[in-house]
Symmetry: C2
């Protein structure tokens, strides 16, 4: 659960909604065939074994910008907000296939789980292909289920508000895939700069993690265009801070807290603002270190430390910290000026602190 | 378009709806970034370059079981029906990644298109990984879009009918992925029998291609539980005939008409009823031919012909033809007895003929 933010009754409710949804579909799939228990185990782990529940939390506080706790329809909004975690689980499962990542939240990634099940069962054929197939299908199931859960909940709200929330949900799903494409294309091209890295962030993270969930909750509560525009500005600023912190944690974070091996972003050659800044500022020997190390899957601990030194010595790390502070301050200003309920303003300030300064 | 079935105004309308939807999203994505043109080219090809439009056609005739042509809401139903093609495009794009298929409808499969674009651009890194990543993301986009298009159309219908149609759509999406899982698991296990192959068909094809689309259209038109149960029986029978014909075409069909290289099903080791019957009936030398040839990606034309001979000599091909006739006759009986509009009964009879006896 998201630390440091007053969740009132929302966070346990997200977990309960997700668990009930998964239980219902587990019964449905096991009725089709026992062997689908394999799928449900992976679905359960990808949805219920941790996660900060950032998107549901933002959706909830978007709603609360306009409405007091316990307002009519809040249980439906909480259910719709929780459904965003099914979408996110799809994104992570498919992302791990695309990146060939071994772990997720400290556990084997879904495609590795399926491959392990194949090996344990002693089946003939290629366990890794089975793993990829299983994870692609699992992601499809999670994506369908996200929409099923969202639509069933949201259509209980007044029609105009439901339609407005649905259209934010539609934009969210198109934009996150567009952002992932931009990321994959930037990575394939090999050339990238700070502006391009920030653009990937805008679509892959800011809009997806902060802006659309917030707007979705606010739209469901009946927000007008002015408030939606302010929340969009807030989301962009906070989303950027969130992603920049993520990039720092991917390189300098404590694996015991982040649940991901340190340095995987560098081994994968992930195109971050941090890396773009370092590349831009590097002298010749520093550039050579970057070129040899970044995107090298076999990079060892010593090589990783040399890269970290370059990221520090070029001033890139400090510049990213500065950008985080700048974005967080902009987000704070927007909240102070926005015409929203004081308890929501308080929670959004807390969320700024968490997103910008978290260690996990 | 589906040959031999009176489409009245429906089929051109499906194409127009899909083209308009793709055009609108093309504009949206190009506004984000020019490089996303790559994605839209693949989306356009996967949705608009052919296809029999079976699922929209069944959805349309499900609706027409109760309502005359031009009834109130028909344009919305046609739009909702067309959205099933976006879901189907996702299934095909992801299936081709999972199966490593090179072509689809006579064109390079989506992951091959992305890989070719990578090579043409001279980007560094692995073109095939880029191709798989692009196709996984494209499928996700198509799946989201299917739901977006479906939900936006269906919610214009009276609430109870919209909810009933939505719940068929939800079942359809869960069942098709469940069916694909059963298929992948059966393939991984290596052991399978006729009963298991028919079970995969039920979920992967009968329900997905016929039963749910029909039920969805009928539910949108206000069908009660008795009619839905009859249409489900019809769908199961016709879906089985459809899939059994598909299996025969995959082995004995003319590639110029099917758009798929002949024998790919055998090279992939696809677990069909045809193959299960042959395995069951084979003598020792025939069994050796099957074991050596099925699932061998390097199988040449001579090897393929030896397999075809075994499928004929064991009586498997004739038995599958018999099963098709049996299923088609059952489907016809159900239509004759059902309380549906005569023009819909006529169209469903035509559809039985097409599904059971088509050559493409």
């Amino acid at each position: 659960l998201l630390p440091g933010v007053p969740p009132e009754s929302a966070n346990p409710a997200f977990e309960a909604e997700l668990a009930a949804f998964i239980d219902r579909h587990q019964a449905e799939l096991l009725q089709i065939d026992d062997s689908l228990g394999l799928v449900m185990d992976a679905a359960r782990q990808s949805v219920l074994a941790g996660g900060k529940r950032l998107r549901p939390t933002f959706a909830y506080w978007g709603w609360r910008c306009l409405l007091p706790p316990g307002a009519l329809g809040e249980p439906l909004l909480i259910r719709a907000a929780a459904s965003l975690e099914l979408l996110h689980a799809c994104a992570l499962v498919h992302d791990d296939v695309v990146d060939g990542s071994d772990t997720r939240r400290g556990q084997p990634a879904a495609h590795r789980q399926f491959a392990a099940a194949h090996r344990d069962a002693g089946w003939p054929g290629d366990a890794d292909s089975f793993g990829a197939a299983g994870a692609i299908l699992l992601g499809d199931l999670l994506l369908s289920w996200s929409e099923e859960m969202f639509a069933a909940a949201i259509r209980g709200l007044p029609e105009v508000r439901a339609a407005a929330a649905m259209s934010q949900f539609d934009l969210m799903r198109t934009e996150v895939v567009a952002g992932q494409f931009l990321d994959v294309i930037a990575q394939a091209r090999g050339d990238f700069d700070v502006a391009e890295a920030r653009r990937v962030i805008e679509f892959k993270t800011s809009r997806y993690t902060v802006q659309r969930p917030l707007s979705l909750g606010a739209a469901a509560a009946g927000a007008g265009p002015d408030l939606l525009a302010e929340l969009a500005r807030f989301g962009r600023a906070l989303g950027e801070a969130f992603q920049l912190r993520d990039d720092l944690l991917g390189v300098f974070g404590d694996p015991a807290r982040t649940g991901k091996p340190a340095g995987d972003d560098l081994r994968e050659g992930k195109r971050t603002v941090l890396l773009a800044l370092a590349t831009h500022a590097a002298n010749r020997p520093q550039r050579a270190v970057l070129e040899q190390g970044v995107g090298n899957p076999g990079l060892d601990a010593a090589g990783l430390n040399r890269l970290r030194e370059v990221l520090i010595d070029t001033g890139a790390r400090a510049e990213v910290e500065r950008l985080i502070v700048e974005s967080a301050e902009l987000a704070s200003e927007i909240v102070r000026a926005a015409e929203i309920r004081p308890d929501a303003a308080h929670a959004l300030h807390e969320l700024i602190g968490v997103a910008a300064h978290r260690s996990a």
